[in-house]
Symmetry: C2
Subunit: 394 residues, 2 copies
């Protein structure tokens, strides 16, 4: 086993309050980190760094845990820029365009889907993301959902079966039949390729009883529940997610006081997706209200070709600070440790001993620059499991 | 002289209505472009492309004119991320932090200033910007303003003397004396290094009479007028800019109906800076109102370490579409041809015959993706004067 010393870290964010300055971010200045066998084995002051087999000099850069993007729709075909332009000219977002992508995805070969997913995965990695969740949901047939998950599984262990994304057009007259398919043959085909089950519980998608049936069937098949909810209107999504012990409820734009209290007193993470609010010109989720109530907040891209064709977690952080009134520190935590909590992972989203050595080195003296310098290509080097994934473009 | 054929352009934006589809963007599909001696000499359908000495295959990418960033404060030292974080936590932006950068800039060596400016210039070029305006204004002494312009001139011909950025702290008791210095010895030292003269005419900066005196002195020294105005409040800035025939008045957040009419009936460009509105959490300028009235609108980054540490014109375009209700086409035009108009240049910001061969090739089928895919690194290749400036990172 080779030990690698990452030295000359100007500012190291560990997300471990026991390390460093005692804040939630656990910041160590003038730091070093040792990785061995893919894991962090030592973190501390550069002065006290132990010897190692290899050394990577980070030149005084700030280092943060690799971003954990806990909500993406990674595998699809086609694009919807014309729909985007029409929306920016005033047409509302209703989710109705999902069927456009379903049609393109069903028509695409595995090779096309794989190439597109790999391109986006590479783009995410280059912007500092080292853990990616990927949902199905653009197939909506047994075979298509299964192949989306099979391709997703080539890229990540965090795969989510979202057969209950929308009722496909051909099943509009038989909603119950479609839900039964999702809970039956489609689940049987997909469960071997998925860790999670998800349902879009909102106006225009699935109602409370349907969502409950889907998540119960998934649980019976060994999948863990998560939920899209409260994006387009107030509704039962958050309440149901908390009741079922879902790891996360995602979007959370329209919350009642009861919803906020339910999240604050549960282990269900509120995952906010400012890229979707940006790209649909929707009111941003109120992160400040959730944080002040004591809820756990995660940030993710919602990468998809309809409502958020975003891969950049730095942009998501900048939007969360500008638009959701998170501090830069809260936003970074939500994009790393928060995403890990939303995936019930304790080995990512932090850089304390025992964690995976997944880290991003920034061309900046502090993580604050992720929000202070929106749009700038600050992520210079990315390491996954202690190995170089992306190196400085200069 | 070597002729270079840029072939396999899926979508070419020329900004020449006489070419292509007749729109303001002058779009040619399945296009080619020939450059010779740094200039565009031929544009048309790929089928009809003439022979050339060299060939660059753009693989079906969309190609746009290189961005014209007509408002930057490129040369400075230090950073103000702590001020940014405090502002995001609720402190208002007053422009008072400018003196922080002035102190850091005065204390910095030429080498430090040059290295920082070159780093930002490279970042801008990599994101597709091929013409950059650069202002002084963080020196505010005769020697410091002169050296900022001298360093700027190493990087661009579009240099602007902004001694009238703010009244420096040491002159607070003698505003008239400072204005006389700007109009006298400072102008004498700076004019040989500058094309433009600029003044920040707003609350907390300079009043109408002061601004008029500065621009008149600049004009007498052969400099062309431009103006920062109406950022923080309604005021005389726009009216003065139009009266004096300024090429541009920049910010334009707070306009009366008279201001809008004055802009619509003049050749003075309204340059909007959404990065500053983003980073100061200020209300965005109302581009829709200006466009609907018939004013010419430009978009620029306002790159500076206080209110807009932004280098990415693609981010500026995305913000203008989301927040200012520009269409993706209007935003692209404003970021290219609009910037050229704001600099009174007819050789950049377009790709018709005679223009400089400054172009950006996008990893996308259409320029619409600049707004549709916010934060994504879409600019793959950049050519200035027909030569490779940046090549695809893949």
């Amino acid at each position: 086993m080779t030990a690698t010393l990452f030295s000359a870290i100007g500012e190291l964010v560990t997300n471990d309050p026991a390390l460093g300055d005692g804040s939630a971010l656990g910041i160590v200045r003038d730091a070093a980190l040792v990785a061995e066998d893919g894991r962090v084995v030592w973190v501390g002051s550069a002065d006290e760094a132990p010897a190692a087999d290899e050394r990577v000099d980070l030149g005084g850069r700030a280092v943060v845990p690799g971003f954990v993007d806990s909500h993406t729709h990674l595998v699809f075909a086609g694009e919807r820029s014309a729909e985007f332009a029409a929306r920016m000219a005033g047409e509302p977002y209703t989710g109705g365009g999902i069927m456009t992508t379903v049609a393109a995805t069903r028509a695409a070969s595995d090779a096309t889907l794989r190439a597109n997913a790999r391109r986006l995965h590479a783009e995410m990695t280059a912007s500092g993301t080292t853990t990616i969740e990927a949902k199905s949901g653009y197939g909506l047939t047994v075979d298509d959902e299964r192949r989306l998950l099979s391709i997703s599984r080539e890229l990540t262990a965090e795969t989510t079966f979202l057969g209950a994304h929308v009722v496909p057009a051909e099943s509009a007259a038989d909603r119950a039949g479609y839900v039964a398919l999702v809970c039956g043959a489609m689940l049987d085909a997909c469960a071997p390729h998925a860790r999670w089950i998800d349902v879009f519980c909102d106006v225009g998608a699935f109602g409370e009883d349907e969502a409950r049936a889907v998540l119960a069937a998934g649980a019976a098949a060994g999948l863990l529940p998560r939920l899209h909810g409260n994006q387009l209107a107030r509704g039962p999504g958050v309440r149901l997610a908390v009741e079922l012990g879902a790891a996360s409820v995602d979007h959370c734009n329209h919350l009642t006081e009861d919803d906020v209290e339910a999240l604050a007193s549960s282990a269900t993470v509120a995952t906010l997706l400012p890229g979707a609010d940006f790209s649909t010109r929707a009111p941003y989720a109120d992160a400040r209200r959730l944080l002040d109530a004591g809820a756990t907040v995660a940030l993710a891209t919602d990468c998809n070709p309809g409502s958020s064709y975003v891969t950049s977690m730095p942009l998501v952080i900048a939007l969360a600070v500008r638009e959701m009134r998170m501090t830069p520190g809260e936003a970074l935590w939500a994009a790393t440790a928060g995403g890990a909590a939303a995936l019930r992972r304790d080995d990512v989203g932090r850089l304390g001993p025992g964690a995976r050595a997944d880290l991003a080195a920034l061309d900046a003296p502090s993580y604050v620059h992720l929000a202070y310098r929106p749009g700038a290509p600050l992520v210079a080097d990315v390491f996954t499991g202690g190995r170089t994934a992306v190196t400085d473009k200069e």
